[in-house]
Amino acid sequence: MSKVWIVAQKEFRDGLRNRWTGAISLIFILLSLGLAYFGSATAGVLGFASLESTLVSLASLSVMLIPLIALMLSYHCFVGEQEQGTLLLLFTYPLSQGQLLLGKFLGQALILTVASLIGFGLPALVISAVSEVDTFEVLKAFGLFIMAASVLGWVFIALAYVISLAVSEKSKAAGLALVVWFFFVLVFDLVLMAILVASEGDINQTLVPYLLWLNPTDVFRIFIYQVVDAQSYTGVLDLADKGADGLAALVMAMGLWVAVPLLGCWLMLKRKELS
């Protein structure tokens, strides 16, 4: 266990050193304050509108941004070390593949968690200070948002590790990371929508809502809608109404989205040979 922590500490320090943590925090702060203040500009007013609209628009921007940030943070994690020769060295150290993987994941997940804690937490404090909404309500909603955002980040860190272990060149990993991002953030929902339209409702209605769980960004958004108790879902998420939005189930789906790719990474690492 202590070796996991040694690796995690190094990864986390790397994140502080190359200013990832700071940069991500800053992006999150600007995003949440900007959305809170300008979020209702289309309605003709400036200033904090409502907790619900702020969090919902924050969620729809975060699903684009957080996966991208997580993928960029982690795509080179293994392939980079392989290119510079340190992975070969680490393989000869008294350290199991599981410990190496867990250490790296813990360190990088911590970077993202700390960044969302600062990046969404500070704006939450500002909002609760200037708005009339109950402070407890704001902090509770933002607290849940921070947790969900962190877990969304972890999912994409784990997916980035799969990419990083599957290829042997950093540039390929970067390309694949973009493909994965594009798929989950844009393509998936479009395809799901297209299937629905093409089938003209002539499709197993009980199954379709659960297809949303195949996309971690959709799970995240449904969760946030649930948290703020939004009146209605937008777009393809409308499907979730038909039973795919139980909180416990959502939490479990997200958990699986972290665990399964990590398990895959572990198996890949165990099989890996460095020639």
Binding site: K3, Q84, L89, S275
Partner: protein, 317 residues
């Protein structure tokens, strides 16, 4: 603890299209230094990586410090490994001290130990600069410090002296000699043959994944029947013939001047020739050079190539 540090029995490694290492049996004792030689791609790195457990053997048995790498999940014994890969560039944005401390902690050693090793490889003055500002030689010294962490029982070094200045090279071999005395098994791969020659107990020459030769330098010299070279001063070529007293027929003259000669003699006769020359009053200087590791290396490599050319029928005239 087993008798040998490393035991290989018919160990081989095949890739889909390449035979990286043909079945090889080899034991390496504690306190032994094995020199590993061969062209690039001869299978040296493959052998090292098999022993380290980074590659999975295709067939055969392997025991390292009594453990089978890759087949059991135990990895604590690897804290007794020291390894310097051929190309390692470390974490460029970290300082030398941070890099070495990270590796020291992973191996379970104190930070003070890491700092002491930095002193030992003469990196203390640059310890707090990022590695990306290091020269080739400094990186190599950092790599060596990393390999020397915590008195290893098995030290595997791939081209350890690349980029090192003569003083650093000497310091390095002193360190190897010291570890050897303390019972560490060392596998050393280098292309700087004259440097290695005095520090290895046995040499193994590999080519295309096959073992061409294995033994101490003396054994290999005997086997290869390479001649010993003589440098004599103070005799003209005719005086030399007389002095050799009949042995000139087996010698091959390489070079003669008015009062000096360079010639070779089959190694088994070298003592007799030496006695004859020492008995001669006119000899002012005498140098006897046994076949160097480089000559042995050339001999075995070219021998192998001519053999394989014959067997493939390439050399038909």
């Amino acid at each position: 603890m087993s008798e040998y540090a490393v035991e290989l029995t018919d160990l081989s490694k095949y890739y889909r299209s390449v035979e990286a290492l043909h079945p090889l049996s080899l034991n390496i004792s504690f306190g032994e230094v094995l020199g590993l030689f061969g062209h690039n791609g001869a299978g040296k790195s493959t052998l090292m990586k098999l022993i380290l457990g980074v590659l999975k053997p295709s067939s055969g048995q392997l025991k390292v410090l009594g453990y089978c790498p890759r087949t059991n999940s135990d990895h604590d014994y690897r804290s007794q490994f020291g390894y310097l890969p051929e190309n390692v560039s470390f974490y460029e944005h970290l300082s030398g001290r941070e890099v070495l401390r990270y590796f020291a902690r992973l191996k379970g050693h104190s930070l003070a130990h890491a700092d002491a090793l930095l002193e030992e490889v003469n990196l203390a003055h640059a310890a707090d600069r990022p590695v990306k500002t290091y020269s080739k030689g400094m990186r190599q010294r950092l790599g060596l410090a990393q390999a020397f962490l915590g008195e290893p029982k098995i030290l595997i070094l791939d081209e350890p002296t690349v980029g090192l200045d003569p003083v650093a090279t000497r310091d390095f071999y002193q360190m190897v000699d010291r570890l050897k005395t303390s019972g560490c098994a060392v596998i050393l791969c280098s292309h700087v043959l004259p440097d290695v020659e005095n520090h290895i107990d046995r040499a193994m020459i590999l080519s295309a994944g096959r073992k061409l030769a294995l033994g101490s330098l003396d054994e290999l010299r005997l086997q290869a029947k390479l001649p010993t070279e003589f440098n004599v001063s103070g005799l003209s070529s005719s005086e030399l013939s007389t002095a050799l007293n009949g042995y000139q027929s087996i010698s091959t003259v390489l070079e003669t001047t008015s009062n000096a000669s360079r010639f070779t003699v089959p190694t088994p006769e070298k003592m007799i020739v030496m006695k004859h020359l020492l008995a001669n009053q006119n000899v002012t200087d005498l140098q006897v050079t046994p076949p160097s590791l480089e000559a042995l290396y050339r001999y075995y490599i070219s021998d192998f190539h001519s053999q394989s050319a014959e067997s493939q029928g390439v050399g038909h005239e």
